[in-house]
Symmetry: C2
Subunit: 479 residues, 2 copies
């Protein structure tokens, strides 16, 4: 129903759809928190006592128990309040954007902060309320841990960005703004993601305002994209990103289907898959050595003066900008950091909703060196704060970090990955991700999964090394 | 999920979708037959005792009680057997068609007959098992009543058809086989059904193998069509037919939404709406006087030698044929009669599944004067017997009868309906149907509703008079 809502729902069907989603959501919550389910879970736990922690059966009970308790902790009234607050906030967010007036959205954010605090209080936490929100999205992680990761990134990226900016004229990207036929962009994107390994027998591509991926089961994992007349707002990279998510879900074994273990381990781990394909593969030099001819065949006039190298460079220009989703790899995590700090301070009561625009501008100047944006390019740009609980931004940076760790390990296991990419031989990489990540579904926490796949828990070292090497070479810098 | 299955589901998603439908169907049945619901229904009945029969409240309880008891009578195991038998029969039906071998499908039909008998036995009946199947689909009707209606039709149609066949050269329809661009056919169809009154704000048109209409709620009633390179398998008439169904659902008041009263009164009444627009409007002379210019603008070369009159005539050629869905108005009910007699005799044990092809050929010769067809053009042509319970064909003829009764009454109430059609002023007709039929949702039985709308219960007189007048004029005959 969500997929349909974003793709084909007629405008008159919005009210019906909201009712349908609320009804099914209510039944689901009711059935999942029932005493009958609690009883079944307890007797299964007694039966399986002593099974190895990483067995399917023990994992099934552990994860179901976690989900069950998480659901039980939220009273039905709070679940309804969350749904209603999100639905009510959306039109005010749109109106605030339309009128560039923070005060229209501010009471909605205040309400969402209160609701986030209520969720945190129901969930329970050791140190701070924001811990509870992180734990809900990324089991096993804490605010403290995330702060450490961001601190390491900040130490590395802020000076890297400053150095790059002194050499900003080394890369030009005007080619991205030329006129590219949208239908042909879609054709190229379909060809590319099919070659990467997205299985169209078990999926499809549609158009929606915001690209997304959604899994209905192991045999049906769909993606959407948007397309404009330029390739700066890239249809192709959106497709690669979403097909990264989708290949993850297509790789979770059918054995786990229709159990709570089916699906991705967390938002952060899911994002590691989309970023892996979008950035570590799709924004790499060997990728463009392989695919540039396809693109030039599709757009001979637009790309007449380009080659694989120049197009690779154009797609990797680093430049501080206002919009997170358009950010390059170097500045992207700073966008996430900014949002993380603001929402953490909101939830922990150190910042009021009225002060958000000021805090935003201050952090933007500090991390990205940019003058204050208008509100639509500032704190009203993302839809995330339209609904509660807050705490969802950190997944983006965790995804970047894990993706680099996975690639480091894949290079150890597979040898010359760049040669594979340049030859268009993507299947060893997908098979490696299947074995390292996809096959486990939701069995392990993000840290456990990263440790199993790479030999270490989530850390910044791989990503920082990757960024320094790649952008150092591009901008002729060394750190 | 059904809509998606017929339109956009990727091939790999079939198994997932079957599981999802079975799961939701199981929960629905379980919740609707729960003791909790029975208790709520009883206490509401006590509270409302004495409310007028045709009030919303009394109707709500009466219809919910009927649905509830109908659901209660079927044991869960039988519900599962029905679902499984349908799923299992489909591939064998396809294989039997492929190999033109009745023996492949015959055991499936035997099973479906047994299951239909089991459903009848659970449901209960006064005279015959087939009564129970009719009553389930068309509340208040009986086998005896349907037999009477068919007998009257047969008496009128068989000689009418014989007379027409002696003058078969009076109408030529070769124009329908010319080459019409499918995309342009869709454009024309969209324009026509929009003008008729199908609300695209609350609906949409997609492509599927078999055209259908489906309602997700008052704000979202969708239709599908198919399109070929000719207009004999008419995309336009499919669209008009399905939009007739859809305008019915779009006209059921939002007041009734999310109650058991929302929706159409029965299959037969639903078919009265699709047939009303497809045949009584869409295959009428004034309709083509209005719309022929639009069609000729779209297909100037194909229609250069045609005018509204010749195209009207081409679309009303009467000719016995093997395929029900392609049949003209005169022969259509004979196709239904043939199926009705066969399935009635199957369910009542007078005919074995092995004897169906022979019985088919015999009835086809008797009613339509045709030599035996191959199986695909014979008893394997419809998908209806792939699932149990049988008993669904009668709705098609009931729909034809009711549509003619409604048109007779609309002519009384609205005056010169032909003038409205020729002027392209369809809204009075739609408004009349809204008031006479749509507004009541499922409140009344087919007979009650027809009586309210037209002053008489379901009968054959209107349809016979309509067919004699229309085809008498077209073939220069009088009865």
């Amino acid at each position: 129903m969500d997929w349909d809502q974003e793709t084909y729902l007629p405008p008159g069907g919005v009210e019906d759809r909201a009712n349908q989603l609320a009804t099914l959501g209510g039944f689901t919550h009711q059935m999942f928190t029932s005493e009958r389910l609690a009883g079944l879970l307890e007797s299964a736990e007694r039966e399986l006592d002593g099974a190895p922690q990483d067995s399917f059966e023990a994992s099934l009970l552990r994860v179901t128990r976690r989900d069950h308790e998480q659901a039980l902790r939220l009273p039905a009234a709070l679940v309804e309040d969350l749904a209603r607050a999100g639905a009510e906030a959306r039109p005010d967010w749109l109106a605030a954007r339309e009128q560039k007036d923070w005060s229209i959205f501010q009471p909605r954010l205040e309400r969402n902060v209160e609701l986030s605090q209520a969720v945190a209080d129901c969930h329970g936490f050791e140190v701070s309320r924001y811990d509870a929100l992180i734990e809900r999205g990324e089991p096993g992680l804490s605010t403290r841990r995330v702060e450490e990761l961001f601190e390491q990134l900040k130490q590395a990226v802020v000076p890297m960005l400053a150095a790059i900016q002194e050499r900003s004229d080394r890369i030009q990207d005007g080619v991205l703004d030329r006129n590219y036929d949208p239908a042909r962009q879609i054709q190229v994107s379909l060809a590319v993601i099919k070659e990467l390994g997205y299985d169209f027998h078990r999926g499809r591509l549609d158009i929606s305002q915001h690209p997304f991926s959604v899994a209905f089961g192991p045999g049906d994992v769909r993606i959407t994209t948007r397309v404009k007349r330029n390739v700066r707002d890239s249809c192709l990279f959106s497709c690669i990103h979403e097909s990264g998510h989708a290949m993850y879900d297509q790789g979770v074994p059918r054995d786990l289907d229709r159990t709570p273990l089916w699906g991705g381990a967390s938002s952060g781990v899911h994002e590691s898959q989309s970023r892996f394909w979008e950035n570590l593969v799709g924004r790499s030099r060997p990728f463009w050595r392989h695919f540039f001819p396809l693109l030039r065949d599709a757009f001979p006039a637009q790309l007449a003066d380009q080659d694989a190298e120049s197009f690779y460079r154009a797609n990797n220009r680093v430049r501080p900008s206002y919009i997170r989703v358009d950010a390059d790899e170097v500045t992207y995590n700073l966008h996430v950091l900014l949002r993380f700090e603001i929402e953490r301070d909101l939830v922990e009561g150190r910042l009021g909703a009225a002060e958000v625009p000021e805090a935003w501008n201050e952090l933007l100047a500090r991390y990205l060196g940019l003058p204050p944006p208008d509100l639509v390019s500032g704190p009203l740009q993302d839809i995330h704060w339209v609904s509660a609980p807050l705490g969802t931004f950190v997944g983006y940076t965790l995804g970047n970090l894990i993706s680099a760790q996975l690639m480091d390990r894949a290079r150890l296991d597979l040898g010359d990955v760049d040669a594979l990419l340049e030859a268009g031989d993507f299947s060893p990489l997908l098979a490696w991700l299947r074995a390292a990540v996809h096959q486990h579904g939701r069995m392990f926490t993000p840290d456990e999964l990263t440790l199993r796949a790479t030999g270490a828990g989530i850390g910044t070292e791989s990503w920082i090394r990757y960024a320094r090497a790649k952008f150092g070479e591009l901008y002729d810098l060394s750190w």
